[in-house]
């Protein structure tokens, strides 16, 4: 297994949590006040609430439902209804391997951490993430490439488009554009990405 691109760093500012996915697993990607990124199972061990609905205070992520608070390694540190209790070690959120490079958040299964680092993206800056209802190969064909790491030109600008496969014939596109591109150019790339999505979804519908 390789690293899977799961989000752009700019979309998860310090002190916030966001829903994400690794294959068919729901994950929460969150960043502490000090900037530490983490990827956990998106399920509170208490009552199963999605932790991505939760909130970050300092270095902890709290569940929105009953406020159970989790820290480093997914360990539960505080149960507000029992403030005097030190939560047992067993109350722990399953964690995923996570690494951040060139403005992209990459995740992998904890017990199967890839040996190779994620692909280098020097010379590119994150632009935006789009969800689409089409299979990765349909998107790659619409782009004029193959695989999950598409490189070429969109809207007159060099781009990298990372495809993140998702269940139910969907995927995320994490798009990066050449460093230093001006705002007007980036607007064109964004519009070209929308066009790519329409093209791939239309092709998928015709195929279905």
């Amino acid at each position: 297994m390789n690293w899977t691109p799961a989000a752009l760093s700019q979309d998860i500012p310090s002190g916030s949590a966001a829903p994400g996915q690794l294959g068919d697993k729901d994950i929460v990607i969150w960043r502490s006040a000090s900037g530490r990124i983490a990827a956990w199972s998106d399920r509170c061990p208490h009552r199963g609430m999605r932790l991505s609905h939760g909130f970050v205070r300092g270095e902890f992520l709290s569940c929105i439902y009953h406020g159970w608070r989790y820290g480093d390694g997914g360990q539960c540190h505080r149960i507000p209804a029992h403030p005097e209790l030190t939560p047992p070690d067993a109350i722990k959120v399953p964690v995923f391997a996570v690494t951040e490079s060139d403005g992209v958040v990459w995740v992998a299964q904890k017990d199967a951490e890839p040996e190779a680092p994620p692909p280098g993206l020097a010379g590119f800056s994150p632009l935006r993430t789009l969800r689409l209802s089409a299979r990765p190969e349909t998107v790659a064909a619409a782009f004029g490439g193959t695989g999950l790491d598409l490189r070429g030109e969109l809207g007159g600008c060099a781009v990298v488009v990372l495809i993140q496969p998702l269940p139910d014939d969907q995927c995320n596109l994490h798009a990066l554009a050449a460093n230093g591109a001006d705002t007007a150019t980036l607007d064109r790339v964004s519009a070209a990405l929308e066009a790519l999505r329409r093209q791939a979804e239309t092709a998928e519908e015709i195929a279905a």
């Binding site: 916030s16 966001a18 991505s52 507000p80 005097e84 969800r131 705002t183 980036l186 964004s190």
Partner: protein, 224 residues
Amino acid sequence: MRLYDYILSPSCYRVRLMAALAGIKLDLRAVDFHPGAEHRGPELLALNPAGTIPILTDGDLVLTQSTAILTYIAASHAPEWLGDDSPAMRAQVGQWLAFAQRLTDSAGAARLHDMLQMPGDIVALRRSATRTLRELEAAISAVRRRGGIFLVGDRPTIADIACFPYVALAPDGGLPLDAYPSIRLWMRAIRGLPGFVEMPGIHRLHELLPEPGPQPDVIRKERA
């Protein structure tokens, strides 16, 4: 100002939220929208023949479109929420108010279908809502590239307040917001505004509130 209000209506919430942010107090008159259908009863039909809520009355003035009510509240009490007077900004605010109606007609209708069993082609409604949410996501991502987060200009306006409720409640209509990172950050910015008020299904940013309850170090001290 009297607001004929229903707690679960995103259109009524628009008005409550705008009034709270503008720092004015409304005289709330609860309407039994569901299951009583009081908005289609004689008293309210006399006020608003369209049979919709919210309705805002202020002296002789009767307003029955939530986006027009936002304009009235802002113009009378908090003009900074209208945006500036430049032709482009005036037009942009107007454009977003019209866009908000598309949200009501798609995501809002999908929610009414799923929550209150209102009739509708749910597949078509969700498809139309997805197109609308994608437009919003693209627009906010363009704003973020310019260092902003709000829809028009560098501060929140009635454009944001008009669009916010139906977007935030879209998951009620089977439209998850997971796929829209810029929308999520825009909603975060609105939920963190001073004076922000909640409605069922839309909460403020908990992290801005002081942590409730005794903290472990306090308990340890008390026991010592």
